[in-house]
Symmetry: C2
Subunit: 359 residues, 2 copies
Amino acid sequence: MASTNYTYDQLYTFSENIFKSIGCSAEHAATATKTLLSADLRGIDSHGIARLSGYVRLWEAKRVNATPDIKVIHETPSTAVVDGDSGLGLVVAPFAMKIAIEKAKQVGTGWVSVQHSNHFGIAGYHAMMALEHDMIGVAMTNASPLVAPTFSIDKMLGTNPICVAAPAGKEPAFVADLATTTAANGKLEILQRKNADTPDGWVQDEAGNPTNDANILKKGGALLPLGGDREHGSHKGYALGAVVDIFSALLSGANYAPWVPPFPAYVPMPVQQPGKGIGHFLGAMRVDAFRPADEFKAAMDHWIQGFRSARTVPGEEKVLVPGDPEREYEAERMANGIPLLEPVVKDLQQLAQRFSIPF
Amino acid sequence: MASTNYTYDQLYTFSENIFKSIGCSAEHAATATKTLLSADLRGIDSHGIARLSGYVRLWEAKRVNATPDIKVIHETPSTAVVDGDSGLGLVVAPFAMKIAIEKAKQVGTGWVSVQHSNHFGIAGYHAMMALEHDMIGVAMTNASPLVAPTFSIDKMLGTNPICVAAPAGKEPAFVADLATTTAANGKLEILQRKNADTPDGWVQDEAGNPTNDANILKKGGALLPLGGDREHGSHKGYALGAVVDIFSALLSGANYAPWVPPFPAYVPMPVQQPGKGIGHFLGAMRVDAFRPADEFKAAMDHWIQGFRSARTVPGEEKVLVPGDPEREYEAERMANGIPLLEPVVKDLQQLAQRFSIPF
């Protein structure tokens, strides 16, 4: 499919203007834009500017509050609960992560569970905020129910990602950012565009049977937890997705399990919701709350170099360290621009027209 | 294969006596026994009394210190590093978990990274210590390098398990306890006894090619990270195993990656080890550091009931909640005894003879 390259600055200005147009403050528009575009830079196209119009539609549907009063509603020295006041998760999550970092400065670690929020973009952006403070960052969120637990037909969990970012010394940081499913929705979309089947273990149909149909989610099917099926450990992916749900929503008072609000504004809200909005969980651990930061970072360098020099299986050139592919995307796209597919460009052009903003 | 049932009390007395025979204090022998046998009770036979002679051999090889001076070597209000002084992980990890719990009482959460330890049994035992305090418990450990990261021939990680335990109200607690591999070693042993092949995605051979040979670890092969191969998300299982290594060993100063000491005493120690012993990571979060414990536990009950009532795929009777299978084992084995396979019984009889302890 045809794509056009845009510079980061072009997309930044456009996105910031759109967020201002729906009523966000200058500060919030900037934060939301940085968070959103970090996905495009890091090659996670499904979570970047392609979703901008989706956020606008949530605002139109009054599911997103452009001028939220984000606040701490409970805290201890190492924990807090944040009420996002239905704001953009793109803004609420960085607010919460800053609190986690402040608490880590004071008592070694900080852990913030968030209620009443919306989709927060990529987990990686938030976790990586900790790195410049010589802290390990953790970020999780629950999400629209698209995933069937092992043996279930019903979709009870979201793709519920986990990110852990750890600073290194001379080497770039370790950044593990993963959905707790075999494959996330973005991977299905790539196959849909190619009219290709999925590998086994990615999806099941409406009746709970295995399928390779990349369009199955639109027909009532479900994504499968990391592992795919019981024999390949799907109960582990399910358990990890469940942990994300508990930390993000059960600790905060957000909605959980099948009651999490859907991202597409046209999908009706679940009835009898047990909580508020969607939930996130952000954490920061000061490295020197355990050992001197220089020692830790030297050990991380040694660890990373060990993995990079591992011998490869036939046909592969190198063993990657978590975070490598995204960092390579970021360098390449900062230099050469961010490719947007034709439907995304059209979608942004419509947004531009509607808000009378140049694109 | 033939097996004989033993009562928990029979195995408890025997194991406690063995630990005392190698020089453990009464208190340590009791703690080590409780930790060890929790694996047998919960159906994780590979990590229970079947390993007792392995621990004894580590003591003989002077890799385990039966009278360790376990101590905190660094701390902040919410963190600590524990030096296990080469003690049994079965004793060191509960010591560290108690510190995590005490810190959580004080400042909301407690996080303890442990160096200079040995294998700690099942992660579940340690994480579940938090439950009676209305806390969420977290336990991880690194382990002997048996796992090849995505695209690697070299075995760079252990099965590096993660356990998260969360209290509920009327429902039993949520306990997710999982190796970050598709299948752990115990599953291979079951197939070996049956002379059966493994499913795809469990193991690879010495050259890094996929194989279904359940005996491949003895021939230089490797376990694969959860996901199995790149197409099925093995880079996620690898990333999770790496996070466990970083939290357990890079934060504490233990050995990491391929330098983790092997469990079998006959396997030579890796050369140029960068740290001390093996590493663990234990955490506790007070539920009411986030919201009132009763509210959280009521939400957990609702969450659990939601999953239990999910519709099942064809051929399956129920959707399980993490912790269900282990809890069912525990009830059954407490009532009817713990079945030990013939080779395990013989192994214990040899131990009995050697230390002149009745079995």
